[in-house]
């Protein structure tokens, strides 16, 4: 093995150790159990917003009748509010 290759490998190894061990050198951070639930609720909220927008577009492009749209939109908004309430709790 050439000296240059050896030097480069050692340098690469040092860089890898530095990058990979950085979190271990930092202060201990426990898992935030609440953040996982918050992430889940935020994902659900975004999906619900998208559903509300899609229902509105379906109505405006004539795919949903007014009665159906109002029923669907009402149900979706109730579901969205439930998610928002749980997020605020």
């Amino acid at each position: 093995m050439s000296v240059l290759a050896l030097v480069l490998i050692v340098a690469l190894l040092a860089a890898v150790v530095f990058v990979v061990s950085a979190p271990l050198r930092a202060a201990h951070r426990p898992v935030d159990a609440q953040s996982a639930e918050r992430d889940r609720l935020e994902a659900a909220r975004e999906a619900k917003y998208r559903e509300i927008r899609d229902a509105e577009l379906d109505f405006r492009t004539g795919k949903l009748s007014r009665e159906d749209y109002e029923a669907v939109d009402g149900a979706l908004r109730a579901e969205a509010l439930e998610i928002l309430n749980r997020l605020e709790d």
Binding site: M1, D39, R53, K63, V72, R77, L84
Partner: protein, 720 residues
């Protein structure tokens, strides 16, 4: 530098092992810092493999034949442009490309999810590093790209002439990007099952990667088809070859997933189905790589050795067994949160579309693996050909195109029959008009192709109507001009309208396939200069032969030593249409037994297709000159006996002149195919639609929309 490459591989393997351990320990013990260290191991892997890939690339560009891989797949006569791409023409190089791309995409996915789904991401990290470790292990223990020979040979074997084609520069990286991207949703899907977090969040986090995998894989497949059509001398773009099929299968299941994931996002339904599709797509992507690398099935693309078969079979076995175990053991958590509200809803159409796509995948899987199944059951290897595939896939493709026009005009949750009837009126009328126009024009044979044209017309009218209605609604709300309203509509609903554009592109593509495969005229015959033949409405005359010789070290050409061809005059009803120049390139071989002259042209000959491509039809020509005539063979044998290597090219010059003076009859392949161009145009439309769908909305717009919807929801609360 080979030492540096080998050192990188060992370091990469160590990083994978550490990263898997750290991620799993972190998530099991709740110590976040270890999970983060595992994630950083993926970044480190990307860095190390970038160095390794650069070492190999430099070796190719510098013609360092001490590297066995370089000596086997490149040469000084290989132009620099193709030397750069020759890295992935070898087994070892393509394994390195796979691992490198995986590390890059995995780094991106884990970086984007670094603050979310920590448990799921930690398991996903371990799984992605498991894949990385597998491919790095193959390079360490089975097929290292950094094996060297001393002393280095003076010259290499050269790149396979079939691969000296511009799209070959990007076709494999596109396909491999698709394959490696398929493993990201798989890793997150498995991670979600392992972490028991099977809500829509993992789908939301990896949706863009699933879409990117679909896009890259699709473009890779299309580029491969284009290469086959433009470069291979058989005149087709799809031959149901095992390796082609291997790339199509994950694309089909990926397409199904992209549709059904919306149902889980919106309704919390199809959880088992979605996770199964993701696991199947990832596993099929690995199986696709296995087919190319193992050489287990005959294919013009397969260039792997038998040594890699066992490790791949073990990996695929583990993936299948692990997937089944995870889905079965978590079945209670995968229950749907809702039921279908109505059979007339977009959810139902998506379900039908999923069944057709999975059905197509099953048919192709069965046909592709039939030789193995047959050998296992009967002891004899049998295979099925294109007619078998066509019998089952064409009707399914028809249904699929039709569904792609029905889905967009059906509302989510529930649609009324009256609304659906109103929206189907124009598409149905256009489909019937198309049918009548075709019948009136005398197109009466090939009913399946006619059905495809009608289905295509249905899709254009259906989606055109959707764009118009959307733009009209937007104009009424925002008081904008129609084109501005249309642009704003697409910008604000990228996923929906990008997807619709993809549907249009697919319909265009299928129309091109149906027309070109059903109504083509083909002819294979021998012609001498001055003779003519008719192909469809065209007359093709062999005007005169052509012959060019390329100096051995001229890197400006594709590297062929001798090129023999023809000047063809194409006319229609007496009018000149095009002059075509098909040729066949003869390449040097490294076999000394062929003699000093024979070895200059003894490599694999490659046809250089010439065509007049147009919007309505392509006139495609290929030539197979006869260089086995006694006169030409005598020049070679005399040259072999009398000329030293440095003067051998003189005999090639004599051979070329003799060919021009006394041209023997040449074998020609002529094809006139309608609408082939629309296959590539359809592909570009799909690509454009895909980019629109995948492009993230500006964060300002997202925030504004979220705030507006939040206010609306709050308004609902106040009313309640």
């Amino acid at each position: 530098m080979a030492d540096l490459g080998r050192g990188c591989l060992l370091l990469a393997l160590a990083v994978c092992v550490y990263g898997i351990g750290a991620s799993l320990y972190g998530v099991r013990s709740g110590r976040l810092e270890f999970s983060e260290s595992g994630r950083r191991a993926v970044y480190a892997l990307a860095g190390i493999l970038t160095v390794a890939f650069a070492v190999l690339e430099v070796a190719f560009l510098r013609n360092d034949f001490a590297f066995n891989t370089v000596a086997d797949t490149s040469s000084r006569t290989t132009p620099a442009f193709y030397r750069a791409a020759a890295v992935w023409s070898s087994q070892e190089g393509s394994l390195l490309l796979w691992a490198w791309l995986l590390s890059l995409w995995a780094s991106l996915a884990l970086f984007l999810t670094r603050r979310r789904m920590r448990e799921v991401a930690a398991y996903a990290t371990a799984i992605l590093l498991g894949f990385g470790g597998f491919f790095v292990s193959l390079m360490v223990f089975y097929a290292t790209p950094f094996q060297t020979t001393s002393p280095a040979p003076a010259e290499g074997a050269g790149l396979d002439p079939l691969l000296r084609f511009p799209t070959m520069m990007i076709h494999p990286p596109m396909l491999y990007s698709g394959y490696t991207l398929c493993t990201i949703p798989l890793a997150f899907g498995m991670g979600a099952l392992l972490a028991r977090r099977v809500d829509a969040e993992w789908i939301r986090a990896t949706r863009r990667f699933a879409f990117a995998a679909w896009l890259f894989l699709g473009m890779g497949i299309l580029l491969g088809a284009r290469w086959s059509y433009s470069e291979l001398g058989w005149g087709g773009y799809w031959g149901w070859d095992a390796v082609e099929n291997a790339s199509l299968m994950p694309w089909l299941t990926g397409t199904a997933f992209l549709h059904s994931l919306m149902i889980q996002e919106k309704r919390g339904m199809l959880k088992v189905w979605n996770v199964s599709l993701v696991l199947a797509t990832g596993t099929l992507a690995i199986m696709g790589t296995f087919l190319v690398r193992s050489g287990i099935l005959n294919s013009i693309h397969a260039f792997g050795g038998a040594t890699l078969g066992v490790p791949f079979v073990v990996l695929i076995g583990v993936l299948i067994a692990g997937s089944i175990y995870l889905v079965v053991s978590r079945r209670d958590m995968l229950r749907s949160e809702h039921r279908l509200d109505s059979l007339l809803s977009r959810e139902s159409i998506f379900l039908a579309n999923n069944l057709v796509l999975v059905g197509l995948c099953f048919v192709i899987f069965w046909g592709t693996y039939f030789p193995l199944i047959s050998e296992a059951v009967t002891g004899r290897e049998a295979s099925v050909g294109p007619p078998w595939f066509d019998r089952y896939t064409v009707p399914l493709a028809l249904v699929l195109v039709l569904l792609s026009g029905i889905g967009p005009v059906i509302a989510w949750r529930r649609a009324t029959l009256a609304n659906a009837r109103r929206h189907f009126l124009a598409p149905t009328a256009l489909a019937l008009l198309t049918l009548l126009a075709l019948l009136a024009a005398g197109v009466q044979e090939k009913p399946l192709a006619i059905a495809m044209f009608c289905c295509g017309a249905f899709v254009f009218a259906s989606i055109g109507g959707e764009f118009f209605r959307g733009a009209r609604a937007r104009r009424a709300m925002a008081h904008e001009a129609l084109p501005v309203a249309l642009a704003a509509l697409v910008r604000r609903n990228r996923r929906r309208y990008g997807g619709y554009i993809v549907h249009v592109g697919m319909a265009v593509l299928f129309i091109g396939v149906a027309a070109s495969s059903s109504f083509q005229h083909a002819s294979e015959l021998g012609l001498s200069p001055g003779q003519s033949t008719r192909v469809g409405a065209y007359s093709i005359r062999y005007v005169r032969p052509t012959a060019t010789i390329t100096p051995r070290y001229d890197a400006a050409h594709t590297g062929s030593t001798l090129s023999l061809g023809a000047v063809l005059d194409v006319t229609k009803r007496g009018h000149h249409v095009a002059t075509l120049l098909p040729s066949e390139g003869y390449y040097a071989s490294e076999e000394a037994s062929q003699g000093t002259v024979g070895s200059l042209i003894g490599g694999q000959p490659v046809s250089h297709v010439s065509m007049d491509a147009g919007i309505s039809r392509d006139v495609w020509t290929a030539i197979e000159p006869d260089i086995e005539t006694p006169t030409l063979q005598r020049i070679v044998s005399v040259g072999n006996r009398t000329l030293p290597p440095e003067d051998a090219v003189v005999a090639i010059g004599y051979l070329a002149r003799s060919y021009l003076q006394h041209p023997p009859p040449a074998q020609f392949h002529f094809i006139v195919s309608p609408l082939v161009m629309w296959i590539w145009i359809g592909g570009l439309i799909v690509f454009g639609g895909g980019l629109i769908a995948i492009w993230p909305a500006p964060s300002v717009v997202r925030r504004r929309v979220s705030m507006r919807l939040r206010a609306r929801a709050a308004h609902g609360l106040a009313r309640a």
